[in-house]
């Protein structure tokens, strides 16, 4: 099948169409013009919490860039929208794990790159994956592809991904996410080996037609896309950091889709303005109170356990998360392999047990510092922890830190208690990787060192047996909790609202998959 891949650009018809729309809008009073844009039939306006300015998937900054990359590039597989984690074919017509270290794939013959860079081939797949592990490229997401060895090209559109050792997370966090984006080898090489702020060749159902830094990213349909036609002609992504602002924009009719604050969930449960709908998704983030095991004040395990039992998670969830989030049973959120049905320390505080443990510890006049990021949510949590620990006679002094100072706390040996929140990908290995011994003092701020935990982390990542992985990750979290260094609080939640004309396509953690957004 021969495909003519056209170059992107504005032709006469597009120009006239755009100019007419602009002229019409300009002729209208401002307020009316704004509403007309928001309600325009083929235009979907969504909010992102940050700007998307890196178009090289190997250097993406996470969710904000991937939101655009997932729409303009293809992967072998993509996350399947829905409430349960699953994937579906994208650029691959076939993909199969033939043994523990070999994954065979065949590309569809209908996918090609814009700007004259031709059809997507197995060479492009090889180039895209192997540049991630290339020391010279120094991709920050190298770790996502774990023990990738190379990609063997066996035909124009066929190949095999070869691993040095088994790596189960590849299917969950590499192939369908940022590391899985396939770029054009010829286009990237022509660009000098790295894509900047402009995509050099796109292949997805949408093209990034314009980018107004910190203001708007516009995606328009790819005229050469041969897959299922996307529902929206144009998607406008507006970077709005503040959720209050985004909610006001939505209520003013300027947005079709946005994540909202947990504090607003109660109000939106009673009805979303403009006939919109609220959907509540669980989140993968995990929030916990950590205790530095190397600090002289926290050497006593009974003291640490007393602290665990004196923290009342339901009160925290009510005050800081407005009752819209559930308690966490560990780092690994429900719905993922390794999620524990319950924590070893129950969510509700047990002050009697805490007081007894403190008495057993023999510690008196305990005064500890609690370092937190200077945001209202964490300040609220910290003050509740301060108040509840005071009930068993432990004095807590709260240190508010700005983000630069807070995120540099890894090597702070004076750290005592710390309230922390990590992001998470949909594979448990992503969580355990931060708490292995070699991460102590880097991201493992508790300096938790446990040989069995390290072995479980390695073994579980290599296992392709889901049941065995599940068992290992549960045990790993038990070990963390038994050390007394962790009090798991919540995974938070992802509430979103959308207008009635939108049928959002979301990952099970509520993140948008724009290419699958439909109309209702």
């Amino acid at each position: 099948m021969k495909i003519e891949w056209t170059k992107t650009g504005i032709n006469r018809r597009k120009f006239l169409k755009g100019a007419t729309a602009l002229g019409t809008a300009a002729a209208m009073p401002m307020g009316f013009a704004g509403s007309a844009f928001a309600a325009e039939d083929g235009v979907l306006r969504v909010r992102a919490y940050g700007d998307s300015d890196v178009m090289d998937p190997a250097f993406g900054k996470g969710v904000t860039d991937e939101t655009v990359h997932a729409a303009i590039y293809n992967k072998l597989i993509q996350y399947k929208p829905g409430r349960e984690w699953d994937w579906q074919l994208d650029a691959a017509a076939m993909i199969e794990q033939v043994d523990a270290t070999h994954i065979k794939f065949a590309l569809r013959d209908t996918i090609g790159f814009t700007n004259g860079f031709g059809a997507m081939t197995a060479e492009d797949v090889k180039f895209s994956f192997e540049r991630l592990i290339d020391e010279e490229v120094a991709s920050p997401i190298k770790g996502d592809v774990g023990p990738l060895s190379h990609v063997e090209v066996t035909g124009e559109r066929e190949g095999t991904i070869v691993l040095n050792e088994p790596f189960a997370p590849l299917w969950n966090i590499a192939l369908p996410y940022a590391a899985g984006n396939i770029v054009s080898k010829a286009a990237v090489e022509a660009a000098g080996g790295r894509i900047g702020t402009d995509p050099v060749a796109e292949s997805g159902p949408y093209l990034r037609s314009s980018w107004d830094p910190k203001n708007k990213t516009t995606l328009t349909r790819n005229p050469d896309w041969k897959g299922d036609a996307p529902a929206w002609d144009t998607i406008e992504i507006l970077p709005i950091d503040d959720e209050n602002t985004a909610e006001i924009a939505f209520e003013a009719g300027e947005l079709d889709f946005t994540r909202v604050s947990l504090g607003s969930v109660g109000r939106y449960r009673g009805g979303v303005p403009n006939g919109g709908q609220l959907q509540e998704y669980p989140s993968l983030y995990y929030v916990w109170l950590g205790m530095n095991l190397d600090h002289p004040k926290l050497q006593n395990q009974k003291l640490r356990q007393a602290i665990q039992h004196a923290i009342d998670v339901p009160t925290i969830l009510e005050a800081a998360y407005f009752g819209a989030a559930d308690p966490a049973n560990g780092m690994i959120a429900p719905g993922l392999v390794g999620s524990r049905p319950e924590a070893l320390v129950p969510a509700a505080a047990n002050f009697e047990k805490a007081a007894a443990l403190l008495a057993e510890s023999g510690e008196t006049n305990v005064t500890l510092t609690l370092d937190i990021l200077n945001k209202t949510t964490y300040s609220t949590i910290a003050q509740i922890i301060q108040a509840t620990l005071a009930q068993i006679g432990i004095t807590v002094e709260i240190n508010l830190l700005e983000s630069g100072a807070f995120w540099a706390s890894g090597d702070n040996e004076n750290l005592q208690l710390v309230l922390n929140r990590f992001s998470m990908a949909p594979d448990p290995s992503y969580a355990t990787s931060w708490f292995v011994t070699e991460q102590a003092g880097i991201w493992n701020w508790e300096r938790f060192r446990n040989e069995e935990f390290d072995q479980l982390h390695t073994a579980a990542a290599q296992s392709t047996d889901a049941a065995a992985r599940d068992e290992m990750y549960r045990r790993a979290q038990d070990l963390m909790e038994q050390s007394g260094a962790y009090r798991f609080i919540t995974h938070e939640a992802t509430p979103i609202i959308h207008t009635p004309r939108v049928s959002p396509a979301l990952r099970p953690d509520g993140l948008p998959l724009l290419r699958y957004f439909g109309k209702s």
Partner: protein, 285 residues
Amino acid sequence: MTNSRSELTQIVVGIVRDPLGLVGLLIVGSIVFCAIFAAWIAPYDPVAMNIQARLEGPSLAHPLGTDQLGRDTFSRVIMGSQVALKVALPAVFGAMFIGLALGMIAGYGPKWLDNLLMLLFDTLRSFPTVMFALAVVALVGPSLQTVVLVVMATSIPTYARVARTQTLSLRNSEFILAERAMGASVFRILGVHMLPNIIGVLAVLAAMDIPTVIALEAGLSFLGLGVKPPTPSWGALLKDGYALIRQTPWLVVGGGLPVILATLGFTFFGETMRDVVDPKLRKQR
């Protein structure tokens, strides 16, 4: 002594006779009163939580509603005045007295000392206060003392420069020359003859600086770099209020109103005092 008392009475009378001055005096007096008697005026313990009563609107029980931890906002506003003045008064008056001493030394001392001190003042003044405060707080951690020290350090040059200018203009005046001719010591000249002529101007400057310092403390607390929780401060109220503005606007009102009132009050008070103290302006009135 009698002269000083009559001068003070004259200033107070001058302020009270001016409508803006009177408003300023009343506001400043109220803030000071609240700060001194906060523990008796506040209807509730400002740090006592009641999660079940969180984010309530104004009522007879809670005139400004409650915050996200169910604490009475009105009580926190009242107690916040203590923090505001605990930062503003030591910082401003500390800066004023150190600046006064250094300025008089610069103005009356040898030329090389004057040059050295001027270089020091210019160096200190070149730091933007807010950026300097952010840097120091980031390094040593937030606390009331840190805020006081930062404000004091950045304000000293302003007072010192004014004191130096006044000293320079006075050092060759006839009554100072006469004192020197009669063999008066440097300390006597500076302390007895020059100080009373300089302190009034600096007091006006201090009164006008207090709202700036209060706003700075509120700003740092708004950024989460002011006083530590659960200490109530107007800036912390504003910070929480901003985050929760879709749930309740009353935290922003509770945190914002006192900052506005303090700014207006101290500004009216300071401006009127300047008019009263400055003989040229006094004649124009």
